[in-house]
């Protein structure tokens, strides 16, 4: 199910110079902001929770997920180099699963890790806030990576669609329309975070059982479907 060569190629493509810069910029911004906030406001649990929830989980994690998830396969399909993977006796779902693992790992490193560091800076993990949001970031990394990998497999405009989903659906609609919150990776991961933190600082609109089921279903379905799409991926000629 996991092919180390596919993984190596994907890592190197994802962490190439330009993409790595973009991947690194957001976490850096989060940490810089955290340092400033801590210096100005001091250690405050509510502020820490607001910043980690609003900036890290609602904005940074999905954007990193878009970059890593779509970037793990989209550019290869776009420029046609995916032909070197497809012209091999390797099961298509293996290619997708491997790329998913890579996308998850990259999303986790560039989103969950900085979330944890920012949490430590903001209030030193008071009331388990840093750990709770880190767990939420880890959990949502998996679902985002799977969703955006599928998007990268089926669409040439995956990054745009991904960003629209991440910024408009998750961040904007999520805060305005209650229904949208039920269908939001962010809310599902917050349900898990709520369980970790306890208390009222980290809350979700979705119950833990529902959230867990939806997270698993979305991840599995997206991965399965991406594998099917890759099986019948058409490489049109240039003529």
């Amino acid at each position: 199910m996991y092919d180390p060569t596919v993984a190596r190629l994907t890592y190197r493509a994802l962490l190439g110079r330009r993409r790595a810069l973009i991947l690194g910029a957001l976490p850096l911004l989060l940490i810089v902001i955290s340092v400033i906030v801590r210096a100005l406001v001091g250690a405050d649990d509510q502020t820490a929770s607001d910043l980690l929830g609003g900036l890290a989980l609602a904005t940074m994690v999905p954007i990193i997920g878009v970059i890593a998830g779509t970037g793990a396969i989209g550019p290869e399909i776009d420029d046609g180099s995916v032909v070197y993977l497809l012209s091999k006796p390797i099961k298509r779902p293996t290619i997708i699963f491997t790329k998913l693992i890579v996308a998850i790992a990259v999303t986790m490193v560039f989103s969950a890790l900085p979330t944890f560091i920012a949490g430590l800076i903001l209030n030193g993990n008071g009331q388990q806030i840093a750990v709770a949001y880190t767990v939420a970031a880890l959990v949502s990394s998996i679902a985002y990576a799977a969703l955006f990998l599928l998007l990268g497999t089926v669409s040439r405009h995956a990054v745009v669609f991904g960003l629209v989903y991440a910024l408009v659906w998750e961040a904007l609609f999520g805060s305005l329309v209650a229904g949208a919150r039920t269908l939001s990776v962010q809310q599902w991961s917050l349900a898990v975070a709520h369980k970790v933190a306890g208390g009222d600082l980290v809350t979700s609109d979705v119950g833990l059982p529902t959230a867990t089921v939806l997270l698993v279903v979305v991840t599995v379905l997206a991965t399965w479907y991406a594998g099917q799409k890759l099986r019948s991926l058409t490489l049109a000629g240039e003529e």
Partner: protein, 303 residues
């Protein structure tokens, strides 16, 4: 023995028919797939390589379905036309990765790099390669598992003459070894120099099939049209029409030129300068007016 069978294959994209009911059998040796740009060669090769589903019909390799069959790639090597190929890797890393994806190791990769004579640049990044070098590394990646069928889409595009010769030698060798090699090209001379067998595709249809001598004859025997300007068009016209190699001449007053139709290409090209010299006529322009590939091909289709 590896035989690729294309059986009543059509492929359309929306309302556009790219490949129209083609049936052909590609056997061992070098086969050239010849046709003008846009004729459907790439579409056909993509279907042969299992990267595109035929809308109708089947493509099989020794009886096995090609589409949606990953195992078939143990026998197929593909050299795509597109340039993109993990430019951030070195040539060696790229070929090694391709070998690993076949379950092979660095040794197979090294052998393939030696076959295409790219060892000298194997540790340079692919992004620094010239077009010919890219083409050879692509070739190495396709040869790494010793396939019995090799599919190459416009492999000579952008190569300089020396690189072209090298690749031709290599493909010839592959054919001599009993492999089935199919390459596409829109350049008649390339196909003629290399292919034992030619399949001509024009506007999505299978226009001709056979050995190159037959097809070459079809191409040279067709009537050739020339546009000729001289110091005395009428005198030249009179002298030319007296010879059986010329079947018709039109004096175009508006253009100030002659439109000559020659039936015997070889004889006419020798005749024209001689006649001009004997009559003291200066030739100002001699240009073939229907040498475009499309006209050659459309003639072939009609033949």
């Amino acid at each position: 023995m590896t035989t690729l069978q294309i059986d009543h294959v059509s492929r359309w994209f929306g309302n556009v028919v790219a490949v129209n009911d083609i049936t052909m059998t590609i056997g061992p040796g070098v086969t050239g797939l010849l046709g003008p740009n846009g004729a459907g060669k790439s579409t056909l090769i993509n279907m042969m390589g299992g990267f595109l589903a035929p809308s109708t019909g089947t493509v099989t390799l020794d009886g096995q379905q090609v589409w949606r069959n990953e195992e078939i790639y143990r026998h197929i090597g593909v050299v795509p036309e597109r340039e993109a190929m993990y430019d951030f890797l070195t040539g060696r890393e790229f070929v090694v990765a391709n070998a690993e994806l076949h379950g092979l190791g660095a040794k197979a990769a090294q052998k393939a790099l030696a076959t295409v004579e790219m060892e000298y640049a194997q540790d340079r990044k692919i992004s620094t390669y010239s077009k010919g070098m890219r083409q050879r590394v692509k070739m190495a990646s396709a040869l790494v598992h010793d396939p019995s069928l090799l599919l190459l889409d416009e492999p000579f595009n952008g190569m300089d003459p020396r690189q072209r010769m090298q690749l031709m030698d290599l493909l010839r060798r592959m054919g001599d070894e009993g492999r089935t090699v199919l390459f596409s090209s829109h350049i008649l001379e390339e196909v003629e120099q290399l292919a034992w067998h030619i399949e001509v595709v024009v506007a999505g249809r299978h226009a001709a099939s056979g050995d190159f001598r037959r097809i070459r004859r079809l191409m040279t025997d067709r009537p050739h049209r020339y546009l000729v300007r001289s110091s005395d068009d009428r005198a030249l016209a009179a002298a030319l029409i007296a010879d059986p190699s010329t079947s018709g001449i039109e004096v175009d007053l508006a253009e100030g030129a002659l439109h000559v139709q020659a039936v015997d290409f070889g004889r006419f090209t020798a005749l024209l300068p001689r006649v001009a010299r004997d009559h003291g006529i200066r030739l100002l322009t001699v240009s073939p007016s229907d040498e475009s590939l499309e006209s050659v091909f459309s003639y072939l289709v009609a033949a």
